[in-house]
Amino acid sequence: MPRDHLIRFLAGAALAAFTGSAGADPAPDSEKLTHLVIQECGSCHGLTLKGGLGTPLTAEHLEGLDRETITHIILTGIPGTPMPPWAPLMTEADADWIADMLKQGALE
């Protein structure tokens, strides 16, 4: 979807401009991101990621989604639902890291 790509590009560009490091995102901070997933994602998806207002984020539940799709959902959100776009608050590398962890069930 070109529009989504555009949004991601703009968000990335804005972030790069903000951090002054175009094209070189800092490595994901695993401690910070783990806290974010448990506490902030957990507000809707449950601290144990077993679901709430939002769907479960357990590895089992995410089996049908590949890593790229999960990353995309994290960054752009799901329009028409409460799932917000996280691109303003994290890098694509961060979202990739979260998607990996969720797929592995490492945060459950």
């Binding site: 506490q39 809707c44 601290l47 144990t48 709430g52 207002l53 639902t81 917000p84 776009p85």
Partner: protein, 399 residues
């Protein structure tokens, strides 16, 4: 030492919190004490709660083993001795605040969101996400009284939200997936009588009733507007209010769902968190039209009125959640803004509003502020505190 006192001291000793003062210290020398200054702080990551005393500004005990408290809430028995804790994992626990013991516990569903207690104090209702619907229990024994699935007109099982008590042994709640509002009336001898309002709008995410028990309002995530029911009218009907309150503007991302708890019904005005905007909406309660907006620091989560009604305290969604704005309801201006610390999740006023307790999750601390001067009166250590609930809620409608 009386037998009662020994029993209480023993129970508290087992509560596994090193405390300089026993729970009865704030009480009289006869070993008796009241519960009007007691409350509960949810420690959401560890499945525990603190029993706190607002007069002593201190923790009396920690109660553990309450399960997943990701999104926990609490109501109180009519005598203000027992706290009913609703856990995310579907558990309903009854905690005796005097002995700091769990005296009853039922895992009633897979995934719960909150609950309410009937006006006569005899029924506790739990709102569920999975499998949806509500379940109602005897407040004394926690035996199940009713199981009411929430299958909307669309035939789908629905998560339920915004469950509150109404006068006359009734409960009112919303159906998130089906977009409906229901009332379950337990005033008769037989099965509860259900009243259903379909087509109220898309994705009602929370609801609440005004402190007089009259106006039920559900926030809609799926559209710009709210659903309103005046429960004093016969027959009752759902009206759309604030329709299109943000139309034409690109909503901002919402990183935490606003809550319609503790909202400000201030005589003729109510202040509500807008969704997707850094604003409160001022609503005229006489005709349910918008009178103005209050610009705030971030996406409001809770807009809690200080008892008395003069000020509303507001906290915010991630990532702007280190701040509290205080709004003067006469001028509708932010008169004070300050940063208690990282992740301010909840605020609870003492019954007459002289102080306010604030959970600062990522500082592992509950702050107690003078509500008039904003002076920090105490910091109470707590593991990732979230909701704070004081026993005075037992005397309020819609808690």
């Amino acid at each position: 030492m009386t037998r009662l006192m020994r029993t209480l001291t023993l129970a508290l000793g087992l509560a596994a919190l090193p405390l300089a003062t026993p729970i009865l210290a704030a009480g009289a020398e006869d070993g008796l004490r009241g519960t009007g200054s007691l409350g509960v702080v949810i420690e959401r990551a560890t499945g525990s709660v603190l029993i706190v005393d607002t007069e002593a500004r201190a923790t009396l005990a920690r109660v553990e083993g309450l399960g997943d408290l990701s999104h926990a809430s609490v109501v109180f028995s009519a005598d203000q001795r027992y706290a009913y804790v609703f856990g995310r994992d579907g558990a309903l626990s009854k905690v005796d605040m005097l002995t700091a013991a769990i005296t009853g516990r039922v895992v009633q569903g897979g995934n719960a969101i909150g609950g309410a207690i009937s006006d006569d104090g005899t029924l506790v209702a739990v709102s569920n996400y999975e499998p949806g619907g509500i379940r109602v229990f005897d407040a004394r024994t926690l035996e199940q009284v009713a199981d009411i699935p929430a299958v909307g007109a669309d035939g789908l099982e629905s998560k339920t939200i915004g469950l509150v008590d109404l006068p006359g042994r009734r409960f009112m709640y919303g159906l998130y997936d089906s977009g409906e509002i229901w009332i379950a009336d337990f005033s008769g001898a037989g099965d509860p009588v259900l009243t259903k309002f379909p087509d109220i709008g898309l994705l009602p995410y929370d609801g609440n009733v005004t402190p007089d028990g009259r106006h039920y309002i559900a926030g809609l995530f799926g559209e710009d507007g709210l659903a309103h029911v005046d429960t004093w009218q016969e027959p009752m009907a759902v009206n759309r209010i604030l329709d299109g309150y943000g139309r034409g503007e690109e909503p901002l991302p919402v990183y935490k769902m606003p809550h319609l708890e503790g909202w400000a019904a201030l005589g003729e005005v109510m202040l509500l968190p807008a969704v997707g905007r850094h604003e409160l909406i001022a609503l005229d309660l006489r005709d349910f039209t918008e009178t103005s907006r209050v610009e705030t620091h971030g996406q409001p989560i809770f807009a809690v009125v200080r008892p008395g009604g003069r000020y509303v305290w507001v906290n915010f969604a991630h990532p702007l959640n280190d701040t509290i704005d205080v709004v003067d309801t006469l001028t509708l201006e932010v008169v004070h803004s300050f940063q208690p610390g990282p992740a301010v999740l909840h605020m609870e006023f003492t019954p007459r509003g002289h102080e306010v307790w604030v959970s600062v999750r990522d500082a592992n601390s509950v702050h107690v502020y003078d509500a008039e001067t904003f002076e920090l009166k105490a910091e109470i250590e707590s593991h990732a505190p979230s909701g704070i609930f004081f026993s005075a809620r037992a005397g309020r409608i819609g808690q």
